[in-house]
């Protein structure tokens, strides 16, 4: 019984010391917050669509972003883009043109960072609207021995999705920085033609229920 009492007493003393030490540590790091609420904004341009345009594959178009620096921690952001995409497989071709928008926020995971190296996690809600065509739709019937090729033209679709992302941004000159964003997105709704969903959604990528995409952007800060 005495040993148990000593053990409990030791445990309590240990806890008190631990909490005290933490309180001292907290007291040490609780410096006055000198970071202004608003620290300017940045405009970004995704470099991957123009590269795709040069090589003539993938999504060709443009994507820009606008984000605000709130206390170097929170970065509300709007991303807008548009362009075209084409693909062909076994005689079936898909072509679309459309636009998209995303709205969300990034959270700088390095507190009090001076934006030289900026790493963040974030979330987005995305919306896209597109017009698309399928050409060379081949259907065959083994029993009736018929085969036809038709086209599906001027279809429209609207897609909504949610993204979780991680990114880094590195300052390369005084006001210019480069950054990567890796996005994991999942579709939440899609409306449009019942004759076939679009193969590709602008701002989202291949029209699976979920997927990944990335951006490589240059930013200018004001």
């Amino acid at each position: 019984m005495k040993r148990i009492s000593v053990f409990i007493f030791s445990l309590l003393v240990g806890c008190i010391f631990a909490f005290s030490a933490q309180a001292v540590r907290k007291a040490k790091v609780q410096l006055p917050d000198t970071i202004p609420f608003y620290n300017g904004f940045s405009i970004g341009l995704d470099l991957l669509p123009p590269i795709n345009t040069l090589f003539g594959n993938g999504f060709t178009g443009s994507e820009i972003s606008l984000d605000m620096d709130i206390k170097h921690r929170y970065f509300p952001v709007i991303e807008l883009g548009g362009g075209t995409f084409g693909s062909e497989k076994d005689g079936l071709s898909f072509h679309m043109n459309g636009g998209f928008g995303r709205i969300g926020v990034n959270r700088n995971i390095f507190a009090n960072n001076q934006a030289k190296f900026f790493g963040y996690l974030g979330g987005r809600y995305g919306f896209a609207s597109e017009n698309y065509d399928y050409k060379g739709i081949a259907t065959t019937d083994g029993y009736w021995n018929t085969s036809r090729i038709t086209n599906l033209m001027n279809q429209t679709a609207q897609t909504h999705w949610v993204e979780l992302l991680a990114g880094v941004r590195v300052q390369i000159f005084k006001q210019v920085s480069l950054g990567w964003i890796f996005r994991y997105h999942f579709r939440i709704a899609q409306t449009g033609s019942d004759a076939g969903e679009p193969y590709y959604v602008p701002g989202y990528g291949i029209n699976n229920t979920s997927g990944v995409s990335m951006n490589y952007s240059v930013y200018y800060s004001f």
């Binding site: 693909s87 497989k89 076994d90 079936l92 898909f94 995971i109 390095f110 960072n113 030289k116 190296f117 790493g119 996690l121 399928y134 739709i137 081949a138 259907t139 019937d141 083994g142 029993y143 009736w144 018929t146 036809r148 038709t150 599906l152 991680a166 880094v168 990567w180 890796f182 994991y184 019942d194 004759a195 076939g196 969903e197 193969y199 990528g205 291949i206 997927g211 990944v212 995409s213 990335m214």
Partner: protein
């Protein structure tokens, strides 16, 4: 980098880097076609009196088609048939070689619609049954259970004897 980040920031950077690598390892490769492109009408035989499934010996042949879809197949209680993709009218002759009964003919009016399943799977012609007529030699009655004709195994028509 050492001047740029303190120890805590460096730890955070490592965590972020691991997260980015994990995200980039998520495969974005397209999967092959997992869906069937075979659009078929699923039909079942039923006994009118007992409302129980019925097994018959069946020969099935499309009107204007020289090929048999089923040739004296015994104990058939369900079968599949295919609608014409290029017209909105398909007819089949049902023969029952095991019994001394007359043939019957099904006349199916349907609306066709081409649909892209996916880039990997290609396309198929889906149909909706508008109406069905039949000769009443052996068949008593017929019920449309699901007029949407697709790639599933869901029962579309039920034929009563």
């Amino acid at each position: 980098m050492g001047n740029l980040l303190n120890k805590n920031q460096l730890n955070g950077a490592v965590v972020l880097l691991l997260l980015l690598i994990s995200l980039s390892l998520v495969s974005c490769a397209e999967e092959g076609c997992q869906e069937s492109r075979i659009v078929k009408v699923n039909a079942r035989f039923f006994d009118k009196a007992s409302n129980e499934p019925l097994a018959l010996t069946l020969t099935l042949k499309g009107v204007d088609n020289d090929s048999l879809l089923l040739d004296s197949v015994v104990k058939v209680s369900s079968f599949e048939l295919f609608l014409k993709q290029d017209t909105s009218f398909t007819a089949y002759v049902l023969s029952f070689p095991a019994g001394d009964v007359d043939n019957d003919t099904l006349f199916i009016r349907h609306i066709n619609k081409d649909k892209v399943i996916s880039m990997n799977c290609g396309c198929a012609t889906f149909s909706t049954i508008d109406s069905i007529y039949w000769s009443r030699h052996t068949i008593d009655s017929l019920a449309i259970r699901n007029k949407v004709i697709g790639t599933s195994d869901e029962e579309n028509i039920r034929i009563y004897f």
